[in-house]
């Protein structure tokens, strides 16, 4: 077990694993110039996230570190880095790929569990309250059309989304 884990951590399997994922295809083009970090609104206010560093660790095969130290959840998905990357690394999408891997292994922040459950039960990630329904009518807004739950459930079942049964607790 221990040996297996070590091989996973030090080998180059992790970059390959990311490259095979939707969103992760371009990670290996990175030459660590740091344009991403200097364009990042999050890096500007906290040292807990630096996109260049996330990519570096991932390319070095530091699987456990990347998936558990919490940095990947601090990307604001603003795409500023991706827009400016001279190597056309799709950085924001790479972060999505890393989050997708993390979640497929049950490491999912609570807020995302809430989004997933709202989608599964209502087809919306921000369910509408009785208060707002009443307000809408007062303002003369039309009643909301029903969500296509039947089709949505079939899609969520076809991709296995409905089988993601996360364990509570944020990755740290």
């Amino acid at each position: 077990m221990a040996e297996e884990k070590q091989e996973k951590d030090t080998g180059l399997n992790f970059p390959k694993e990311i490259t095979r994922r939707l969103g992760g295809e371009t990670i290996a083009f990175c030459y660590q110039c740091g344009t991403c970090a200097s364009s990042c609104p999050v890096t500007k206010v906290t040292d807990r996230f630096n996109p260049r560093q996330v990519i570096r660790l991932a390319l070095l095969g530091k699987r456990e570190e990347v998936l558990t130290d919490g940095a990947i959840w601090l990307c604001a998905s603003c795409y500023n880095c991706q827009e400016r990357c001279p190597q056309k690394v799709e950085i924001a999408d790479v972060i999505y790929a890393l989050r997708n891997i993390s979640i497929s292994e049950g490491k999912i922040p609570n807020i995302y569990i809430e989004f997933a459950n709202a989608l599964l039960s209502e087809g919306r990630i921000v369910p509408i309250s009785k208060f707002l329904e009443k307000k809408r009518a007062e303002y003369g807004l039309p009643p909301l059309k029903p969500v296509g739950m039947e089709a949505l459930r079939k899609i969520l079942s076809a991709t296995g989304f409905d089988k993601i049964m996360p364990k509570k607790g944020e990755p740290r």
Partner: protein, 291 residues
């Protein structure tokens, strides 16, 4: 009359009736018909893309299929919805393998993405269907004295390769539309940078620090208000000022106003018809200045 399927998404109908109300009123006045279709769901924005990108593409495609079946192009108000749907639409129209992969998923629900429709943000409808000349002529109450800090948010501009809305580094569309109402669109520091909204709920301290930057920069530039397109930007900056007050002990009172609201005011709609109670930071100063 030009007709669009209105894609409302989750946040606007559930949290911001002032946005929906003003957008519906303004577009109707400008001759755009909005059709509410049955069967749409969440657009599959970044929080869902974070969980699974493939599922998110399929959800977005399924929404586009609903518009295809009704033979209508889609218009969105929320820039998050715009990004999810426009990104999926471009990707699936241009990447054959990905389209096949997504259509295999959709087939389990009896759906097929054909790629026959367009996804537009309402600013594009104003620019291309209404047109600047017609818009200027429709303004009955020019917002002459108002200095507006335009804040389009990220997801109408980026990733520009797929969204194709405007130049991502030197955008002009939003500013042009603000000036068409007679107001002045002012420059402020870090105008194009993110509001931090998507970090709310995971790292509230980081999200608030980024939002504060935005408010400070607009204040220093002498803005009368910040104008938004995205419901998350609105929430982050409007409600955010209450949190800045308790966390940083600073008070800015910077009104945050959706562009659709400014549009309605310039078209002569009375403020009392616009659900302005939903603003945490009151907009009275702005209304006074407009007169």
């Amino acid at each position: 009359m030009t007709s669009y399927a209105l894609f409302l998404g989750c946040t606007i109908p559930a949290r911001q009736p002032h946005y929906e109300l003003s957008a519906r009123k303004a577009l109707k006045k400008l001759g755009i018909e909005l059709v509410d279709l049955e069967g749409m769901s969440c657009c599959a924005p970044p929080p869902l893309q974070s969980i699974d990108l493939e599922t998110s593409l399929a959800i977005a495609a399924n929404n586009i299929c609903t518009a295809e079946e009704a033979d209508l192009n889609i218009v969105t108000l929320c820039t998050g919805c715009f990004e999810s749907l426009a990104m999926a639409n471009t990707l699936l129209k241009e990447k054959r393998e990905l389209k096949a992969r997504v259509n295999k998923i959709l087939s389990t629900a009896g759906k097929e993405f054909k790629g026959s429709k367009e996804v537009r943000h309402y600013l594009q409808v104003l620019m291309n269907d209404v047109g600047l000349d017609c818009l200027r002529q429709s303004v009955v109450k020019p917002l002459g004295k108002l200095k507006v800090a335009a804040f389009s948010g990220c997801h109408i501009l980026r990733p520009s390769e797929l969204l194709r809305f405007d130049d991502p580094e030197r955008p002009r569309v939003f500013d042009t539309l603000i000036e068409a109402l007679g107001a002045k669109s002012i420059w402020y520091k870090n105008k194009l940078k993110c509001c931090g909204g998507l970090l709310r709920g995971y790292a509230d301290d980081v999200a608030l620090a980024i939002a504060r930057d935005k408010i400070v920069n607009a204040t220093n530039a002498g803005a009368d208000c910040i104008s938004t397109l995205c419901p998350f930007c609105f929430l982050t900056l409007d409600l955010g000022q209450m949190l800045i007050k308790t966390t940083y002990k600073e008070e800015y009172n910077m009104p945050i106003i959706h562009y659709a609201e400014l549009l309605c005011l310039s078209l002569g709609v009375e403020p009392k018809e616009l659900a302005i109670d939903f603003h945490k930071v009151k907009i009275d100063k702005v209304l006074e200045k407009i007169g």
